[in-house]
């Protein structure tokens, strides 16, 4: 079966995939069933300890899988496969520290934090900090940092979950009809107007599902749904692995083919048709186009990467996003023989961009509104100066632009900037011959080379480091970043409060020992196999580089359709959805526990009745979840960047104070509080430095090329140690209580 023949946009849409949709729905219903069962568990136990910590009773499977599933997050099944597809085998090194992540994340702090939490009766991470140092102020700082980081992260995760669901349901009739109905219902509400109704529907379904089961079932619901989600993830990967290897004809074949590959070019093209359409028609994503250049050895091959409407009564459509295959062997394979793709015969590809060209979008503006529409035809030349370097460039519009009367700007349009010396000289000559319209300026440009900056025309780039990169000239994983990621996964994983709270919940050290072993096997079964599967995907599903976020569901459908088991796709695509759900639910509970336990009960009303606390827990979990849903209505643009910023920021704040607090009797509140704030400040300053150095908060300044996490951790550890050394020792009773034999029995 040919990969190009599958309508990837419609994962559950075609007839054989009804079973997939049903599998997916059954899975979602099971999540609610578990929440209901968990709620029953709460009837006879201490409410807060049960609701936020599962009464410290987790056994091996529950503890191991909740730990693994929460750490895995949605990124493992969307962002990670996308990165493997885009950059190749080097992702094996990128994820390399997962070799030791289970033993680090659980073994470094696990036994000790569990013991300390038992001694003090702590239920949350700020509780542990507050009790260990006997400092309300320190506890409050910890609460503030958790709420700050996790709120951003929660909104980003809500968006991720909704986008995954939207991808899965594309093309399903019931879904499309419901989105239209929702759009009609919300037509009178102004702030919902600009939101894609399909996204809105997915956000509501995803958000309500997660908020309801988390609120109702508490920690046990989160843990047991995590267990189910963890099983789904590993089963999904283990089914896909042999299917992918067989389909590609053996892993050795796949690697040898990848060794010949050169990175694609990404840009826009124009297509024409002889006879105009009577009604609007769609050029779907996945359409293949061919351009036979004069005197060329082989044709140029393009895959449409985003569906575009071909308007009625027109003969040309511009700015069609495409990915160009550049590997000669791959072009031969896709144009002739068994694996040949089917080309669209009704569309004629107009001469595409030059391989050296840059493409992107710009805004064309005028200083004051005009009385009539200003039409700027396709092919108009402009000269502009880049903001940062001040270099002058010449660009050519790749589509028609209109600045409407009474307005000062046109919608963003696609442009081409010649990249070769010959092209630049020709462009300057053309600009002189055909000057751009007076009074029109070019603004807010975002123009990138069509070819990859690192790896273009270089075979072998997908099977060696640092891996190809579209914009960075040092490749995907230069040495400094490889070291950074060893810190990032293993060390910062140990510093996540969401992991720490799980470490407080297991029932015995025997459970911890068995769980470290279980998680080690679990990660071994997931992460390296994922690298293998999505390296195979490069061969099986070519040209998805511009939409690689969808490679996981695309691969799931491709592999299961091939063996005639469409329903299996439902289970496989449930894996990324499961991963996001398991992350969101635990973060939701972290924030509400911070508000109810750490702020209300411990600072405002320690004598609150259990009934009050119970009501507030339900209420705050629901309020926080609903607020995050509203936040995700207008979600932040930099999804993955926010997740990275918050994850590394939390580690920079919490790891050093926790390590010193648990293992160094001399550590005191001054040192650990200073370390927490210094870690926060150092990490944040790298991101703020990014605004100055790179023009964006989410493109942080990298001191000596290292990731901000390294700077944050270093500053935090150093500050904690130095400040502790120069300040008085901690109260003797605290040392006795937490470090001396029998100290845990001491009463204050």
């Amino acid at each position: 079966m040919n990969a190009a023949a599958i309508p990837f946009a419609a994962i559950f849409a075609d007839g054989s995939s009804n079973a997939a949709l049903i599998t997916f729905l059954i899975y979602t219903l099971a999540v609610f069933g578990i929440a209901a069962l968990s709620n029953r568990l709460m009837q006879s136990k201490s409410f807060l300890s049960e609701y936020f910590l599962g009464s410290r009773s987790l056994g091996v499977w529950a503890f191991a899988l909740t730990f693994a599933a929460t750490s895995a997050s949605g990124g493992s099944f969307t962002g990670f496969p996308s990165k493997i597809y885009t950059h190749g085998w080097v992702l094996g090194l990128w994820i390399g520290s997962y070799v030791v992540v289970p033993i680090c994340a659980m073994g470094l702090l696990g036994k000790r934090i569990n013991q300390v939490a038992r001694i003090s009766g702590a239920i949350t991470v700020p509780d542990v900090i507050r009790d260990r140092f006997h400092s309300a102020r320190f506890g409050l700082i910890a609460v503030c940092l958790i709420v700050f980081f996790m709120s951003f992260n929660l909104v980003a995760q809500f968006k991720a979950g909704s986008l995954i669901l939207k991808t899965l349901l594309q093309g399903v009739t019931v879904f499309q009809d419901s989105a239209v109905a929702l759009s009609n219902t919300t037509s009178g509400i102004d702030f919902l107007q600009a939101i894609d109704p399909q996204y809105l529907l997915c956000l509501l379904v995803f958000g309500v599902a997660v908020v309801v089961y988390t609120t109702y079932g508490g920690f046990h619901a989160v843990v047991w749904t995590d267990v189910m989600q963890g099983v789904v993830m590993v089963v999904g990967v283990l089914i896909m692995l042999p299917l992918a290897i067989v389909e590609v004809g053996g892993l050795g074949n796949a690697t040898r083919d990848m060794a010949k590959m050169t990175p694609p070019r990404i840009g826009v093209v124009s297509v024409a048709r002889d006879d105009p359409l009577a009604e609007d028609g769609l050029i779907p994503s996945g359409t293949w186009l061919k351009f036979d250049g004069e005197g060329a050895d082989r044709p140029r091959l393009f895959r449409v990467s985003k569906s575009v409407v071909f308007k009625a009564n027109e003969t040309v459509t511009d700015a069609l996003p495409v990915v160009e295959i550049t590997t000669p062997d791959e072009i031969d394979r896709l144009t002739t023989g068994e694996s040949a793709v089917e080309f669209d015969r009704e569309l004629t590809l107009l001469p595409p961009f030059d391989p050296e060209d840059h493409q992107g979008t710009v805004s064309l503006t005028v200083s004051s509104p005009r009385d009539a529409d200003l039409i700027i035809p396709k092919g108009t030349w402009f000269q502009y100066e880049t903001d940062r370097a001040g270099t002058t460039h010449v660009i050519r519009t790749a589509q028609r632009a209109v600045i409407p009367s009474g307005e000062t700007a046109a919608e963003k349009i696609a442009v081409t900037r010649p990249g070769s010396k010959k092209g630049v000289a020709a462009a300057r000559a053309a600009l002189q011959a055909h000057p751009s319209p007076g009074g029109v300026d070019v603004e807010s440009e975002s123009i990138k080379p069509c070819a990859y900056v690192f790896g273009k025309k270089k075979p072998g780039v997908y099977v060696t480091g640092p891996g190809p990169h579209p914009t960075s000239d040092s490749g995907f994983l230069p040495l400094s970043l490889a070291v950074s990621f060893f810190f990032m996964w293993a060390i910062s994983g140990a510093g996540q409060p969401s992991s720490m709270v799980r470490l407080m919940a297991f029932n015995s050290s025997q459970t911890l020992r068995r769980s470290i072993f279980t998680v080690a096997l679990y990660y071994s079964a997931i992460y390296f196999p994922l690298v293998i599967i999505f390296c195979c995907a490069r061969i099986l599903i070519p040209g998805m580089d511009a939409e690689s976020d969808r490679i996981m569901p695309a691969m799931a459908v491709f592999l299961t359709e091939n063996i005639g088991l469409g329903w299996l796709a439902g289970l496989l695509v449930a894996a990324p959805f499961a991963a996001v759900m398991s992350t969101v639910d635990s973060f939701l509970l972290m924030i509400s526990s911070a508000l109810v336990r750490d702020i209300y009960q411990r600072n405002m009303n320690p004598e609150a009745t259990e009934k009050t606390v119970k009501r507030l827990s339900y209420l705050f979990t629901m309020i926080v979840g609903t607020a995050a849903m509203f936040g995700a209505l207008n979600p932040p643009q930099f999804l993955q960047d926010i997740i990275v910023y918050t994850g590394s920021g939390l580690a920079a704040c919490f790891l050093a104070p926790m390590v010193f607090g648990l293992y160094w009797p001399r550590s005191n509140v001054q040192g650990c509080m200073a370390g927490m704030l210094a870690g926060f400040g150092a990490h944040l300053s790298m991101y703020v430095g990014g605004i100055v150095a790179n023009g964006s908060f989410f493109d942080p300044y990298r001191l000596l090329n290292f990731d901000p996490i390294i700077v944050g951790l270093f500053v935090s550890f150093a500050t904690t140690y130095l400040v502790t050394r120069f300040t008085p020792p901690p109260p003797w009773r605290l040392v006795q209580k937490y470090f001396h034999k029998g100290g845990g029995q001491l009463k204050d």
């Binding site: 300890s49 090194l93 390399g96 070799v99 036994k111 009766g121």
Partner: protein
């Protein structure tokens, strides 16, 4: 802890016996950290020296995986799993983590509140 306990202050200078759970946990944490360091020192330099330069003549695969990644990550992964099994079942001590004093911290604060103390405010 509203005031310094004179009895405990006198004991400050006496030889103390540390909690065995703390000592075991600290020793285990040091071993874990050394394992992480070993993994870092092996994997990153090995992969960098052997896998960051493509030569079509010398490029090879082992079990379908590029050889540099096979020896740099996949084999260490298996070794780390074996180490983890040893660590979990032979090295890590079975410790009694104690009973959870549910609500102890809260009770303490309520007492301090009624005594008119400063609470947990340092």
């Amino acid at each position: 802890m509203s005031a310094v306990d004179p009895a405990s202050e006198t004991r400050r200078h006496e030889p103390v016996e540390f909690d065995p759970v703390y000592l075991n946990a600290r020793r285990e944490a040091i071993v874990v950290f050394c394992l992480w360091l070993t993994a870092l020192i092996w994997a990153v330099p090995f992969c960098y020296l052997n896998g960051y330069d493509y030569d079509p003549e010398s490029f090879s695969t082992t079990w379908g995986v590029p050889t540099w990644l096979f020896w740099g990550i996949l084999v260490p992964w298996i070794v780390a799993d074996v180490f983890t099994i040893w660590f979990c079942f032979c090295y890590m001590k079975e410790d009694d983590l104690g009973e959870a004093h549910e609500g102890a911290d809260l009770e303490e604060e309520i007492v301090e509140m009624h005594e008119g103390g400063t609470g947990a405010g340092q």
